[in-house]
Subunit: 623 residues, 2 copies
């Protein structure tokens, strides 16, 4: 991996930073954040501006270019990668280290007095703008919005914004029509006394209209905004795709409808001017609801007194609680996904000893088996296929330079998932194709104990997921071990594999309480640098729990695993399990056998079925 040479690009950028064609006044610094205009986690190639200007293409990082300097802030996952990908025009700012300055402090230390710092107001979230603007102002500088994105002005060959066809989802997938979702949203708006709601997150637009797209890899979303009024619906979206008869039919664009359900389709690029018009026409007490992560540009379109900002939107919260149709779809998707993985692991068991299977081949094979399943659309994220020391790199993705061959001597970790029309999967299994050492088994068993502690936990209604995080770590902590990532994230229903507002992590306090119907991952791990990585991940559904008592009539919750893929018993040191834990494993494997076994049988996949039966033999009681 050789660094990108950026000398010429930086020169060009510094020129446009002073060019009156693009800036009202010269800016002495220009900030290039990671995101897109929708604050997406995964972004389209045309939005990879920070990677273009710097060469560093990790998922998190902010570049700041001044007349003299170019600096990149990123976190511990990417220190090595960023150092490799950037040339020496760039200074790497290692976030999380004690001596690393914040972006604001650094700017204040390098800028001449009274500087202007530019940023694309569509890319920076309003809350971030506010923080940075305040810090700069108190040091005598100004954060200024630069309408035209300055990277785009120098990016020759910038890819076009994708505009792919849409998929319509009928009631059998969504459980609720888009009309009913609009009705529910308007009732939430009425509760809070707001007149308008601005949908800025791509997955929220997709969910609201029961549409899917493929504008962003792995995330079945499409570039669009929506503005919902009490009597109007405006959808901001480009391209031919709105000419598709099935989409027109789905959205009833050509039907005579009550006016409050008539969708006005408008160009994607007109969102700002339309929102400004809304903002200008508000009467006193008419509020507009926005996410506090919405872009500065859109937030500013609404005068401050009229804004109603919340960290989680009512769509985000409604979307997280899956209805019966979505839950059933997720179940089906996970059964199909398990079929594909039984095939894969059976195949790997035969092929790995031959020494011909690399991490990339294994990942491709996993995709191949998944793609044979009904309603398969694409993967839900880049497959983490890692063996031996690569397994210890938590966000590893095999590339030719790092691609390792699987062997009977090393642990193999596969974290993968897919988008099916009926659901999204995300599963991690850690396997050994030879004989694991006692130490590897010991570590695996602690991770398994943590996985079970969360999966089998019973907790009161209203409990936030972060309160369960320590359960996943307790067995590791007892032996002085730990893992440096959260335990779980929300999972979309044929939507983003990571979604809010719930999760299981020591890192946040702002998650929404878990409720029945929410779906999260349960994925503790253990990583030994330079040796191996272990992670056991199921996607689990929050369900009501039956308990002996019922304090204050609050009711209790627990989890039901949706993922039904055997956990390799060869890796388990049964002596370290309690009876309750052993029973959990046996019951889990009984269910895999019953449910996935039936589907393997139905699909005539007899060899994989035999593998499943072998792998789900009950653990014997230790004498």
């Amino acid at each position: 991996m050789s660094p990108k040479i950026t000398t010429e690009l930086l020169k060009q950028l510094r020129q446009v930073m002073k060019n009156p064609k693009y800036v009202q006044e010269p800016v002495q610094a220009y900030i290039v954040p990671s995101g897109d205009a929708h604050q997406s986690e995964y972004i389209a190639p045309c939005d990879c501006r920070r990677a273009f200007i710097s060469g560093f293409d990790g998922s998190a990082g902010t570049a700041i270019v001044t007349e003299q300097h170019a600096a990149m802030w990123t976190d511990g996952r990417y220190f090595l990668q960023a150092a490799h990908q950037m040339d020496n025009n760039w200074t790497l700012m290692k976030m999380g280290l004690k001596d690393t300055p914040t972006q604001e402090d650094w700017l204040v230390s390098v800028l001449p007095e009274g500087s202007k710092v530019g940023v694309d107001p569509f890319i920076i979230p309003a809350d971030q703008w506010k923080r940075m603007s305040k810090a700069l102002r108190s040091a005598g500088h100004d954060l200024v919005p630069v309408k035209e994105n300055l990277i785009d002005t120098i990016w020759t060959g910038c890819p076009q914004r994708p505009c792919k066809p849409l998929i319509t989802l009928d009631l059998s997938y969504t459980g609720i029509s888009w009309r009913d979702k609009i009705v529910a949203l308007r009732s939430k708006m009425a509760e809070r006394k707001v007149m308008w709601f601005v949908v800025t997150a791509l997955d929220e637009v997709a969910w609201l209209f029961n549409l899917r797209g493929s504008d962003v890899e792995y995330n079945p979303v499409f570039f669009a905004y929506a503005v919902i009024g009490m009597n109007t619906i405006r959808l901001f979206i480009d391209g031919e795709r709105m000419m598709d008869p099935s989409v027109r039919e789905h959205l009833q664009l050509d039907s005579t409808l009550e006016p409050e359900f008539k969708i006005q389709v408008m160009p994607y690029g007109s969102i700002l001017s339309e929102l400004q018009a809304v903002g200008a026409g508000l009467s006193p007490k008419e509020k507009v609801w926005l996410s506090d992560k919405a872009s500065y540009a859109l937030t500013e379109a609404i005068p401050k007194a009229y804004r109603y900002l919340t960290p989680y939107t009512p769509i985000c919260i409604a979307k997280a609680v899956k209805n019966a149709a979505e839950t059933e779809g997720m179940r089906r998707a996970h059964i199909k996904d398990a079929v594909a993985l039984c095939e894969l692991f059976n195949w790997l068991e035969k092929e790995v000893p031959k020494g011909t299977v690399t991490e990339i081949i294994a990942a491709d094979k996993a995709e191949e088996f998944r793609s044979q399943q009904k309603d398969f659309v694409e993967l839900s994220f880049a497959t983490i296929s890692s063996t031996g020391p690569n397994g210890a790199i938590i966000h590893y993705k095999p590339v030719p330079e790092t691609n390792r061959t699987l062997s009977v001597n090393e642990i193999y970790l596969l974290d993968s998932g897919a988008q099916y029309k009926d659901g999204t999967t995300d599963v991690t299994r850690t396997m050994h194709f030879g004989t694991p050492s006692a130490y590897e088994k010991e570590c695996f068993t602690y991770v398994l104990k943590g996985h079970i502690a969360v999966s089998a936990a019973i907790f009161p209604n209203g409990t936030k997921g972060h309160l369960l995080d320590s359960f996943a770590r307790s067995a590791l902590w007892d032996c002085g071990l730990d893992y440096l990532h959260g335990t779980g994230h929300g999972v979309g229903s044929f939507l983003n594999v990571h979604e809010g507002p719930c999760g299981i992590s020591y890192k946040t306090f702002a998650d929404e309480p878990l409720e029945a119907g929410m779906i999260v991952s349960d994925e503790p791990g253990y990583y030994e640098d330079g040796s191996f990585g272990i992670r056991i991940e199921n996607v689990v559904l929050v369900i009501p729990a039956e308990t002996k008592y019922n304090f204050k009539n609050r009711g209790s919750l627990t989890f039901e695993p949706l993922t039904l893929v055997p956990i390799q018993t060869k890796m388990i040191d049964v002596n370290l399990l309690t009876e309750k834990e052993r029973n959990w494993v046996n019951e889990y494997h009984r269910k895999c056998r019953e449910v996935v076994g039936a589907e393997l049988e139905r699909q005539g996949r007899h060899e994989a079925l035999r593998w499943l039966l072998r792998e789900t033999e009950p653990l014997a009681r230790v004498q």
Copy 2:
């Protein structure tokens, strides 16, 4: 309990709210918060202004009086009490209920346009002022500081501010001299590049100078402020007490000292003018460090650009980590405290069946036994002595109207503690003097399992206490039970029984990480309204833990119980304990026997010793 008649008082208050002798311009509303000028949890009688004006004397509440209204905000613990104690001039604002307005919203709804809202700037913390002032300003009103406290102007017979003699603590108690504490503080100040540090919390002043007082009941503190410069020390304190030769000697007031250790003693009331002088004399980049909970008055004395505010001060953090002398002192105090409780429980076992022991008698007896111990100073909080349904009232304190007689048919809960010159104790035991029901034993055993889960937990260095809270609840949750309070609080060393910056609670995310030497309580419970309450509380010391592995060389921590009082085995359903839990109980009781037994022997308390031996018989393994 009849309500206080406040008609005349409110009339007087409304007059002074318009009296130019006290206010520059009339104020249309006056806020009376709970606290004192040091944001103390426990306050002196002269600071009970909210209780004086309203009659409501619970520990938390804010009164607001306007020309037309008088309203009191308090939380669920006090709804009943406040309703009983206040006459119908007052509206009770039940905090935590959905329809209860915030103070700001209520003010905005009742005030005429452009109103002034007054408050004593010494009583309101700066962070609270900021929030309230912003909300009022955005509605066209003004929050204004009223120098003279308006309650004091109408409070005839207001008690004097206490000014009791001081206790000096020598190195055998404190481990570090006040000079060395000043040196350490100045080095923290140098690290953060601040020139001045303002000590506003009473326990921080006491800790810094190795002095104790008795100005506030239960808290061995005295009214004082301190301002520490890089070369100066100013102590703001009133009264004869600084004439005491032992205090003068302790503070070396009459010695020739290096000037940077020379303490300038100044009147308590001169803090504001002195701080204003400091504020006026600052050169650029000279910062002044204050707690963000310091009063608005003191915070405003320093121009905004020069303030350095943190939620926890370096003294608060240093004070929390006990040194060897303090730890040894705490151990001694807890042994003496255990001797007193063995005596008490032995006495109760004999007396309760006679039907003559009330909650108040039991509490008094506990104090009597404690007061026989060496270095006993006072109780560390009002004893919670509660039997039967009173046990379910979490913050219960027996008064004649509620005083119940202990019996062999009801559970008895005693939460009590004392201040000894060598340490502070806080212990809860739940006992049955007859035969507990199976259900009572079951609930007790879940609480015990939670207590053990925290006490025996092993966790990485750097872990915050809130991450351990769910361990205490897991056994209760499994059966649909829970308790509605946090699990633990920091405990001072012959200082406040509640102190920051650490604790074990689901409610906070802002606690500082636990480190070896910190001392917290571990006190899960279970409360059944109208029937009984169960709580098991030990004070525990954070100590390094030996673990099999040591991930990233972080090291691990665990807890050592300082409290050594038997846990009533009669209340335990041994069938519900794991072997590990049973071993924990037996090992705990072995230690109680060994350590407290030796002290009972030494003090010639043979009957109590026999009680201890009986109560610490090992639990038998269940067949």
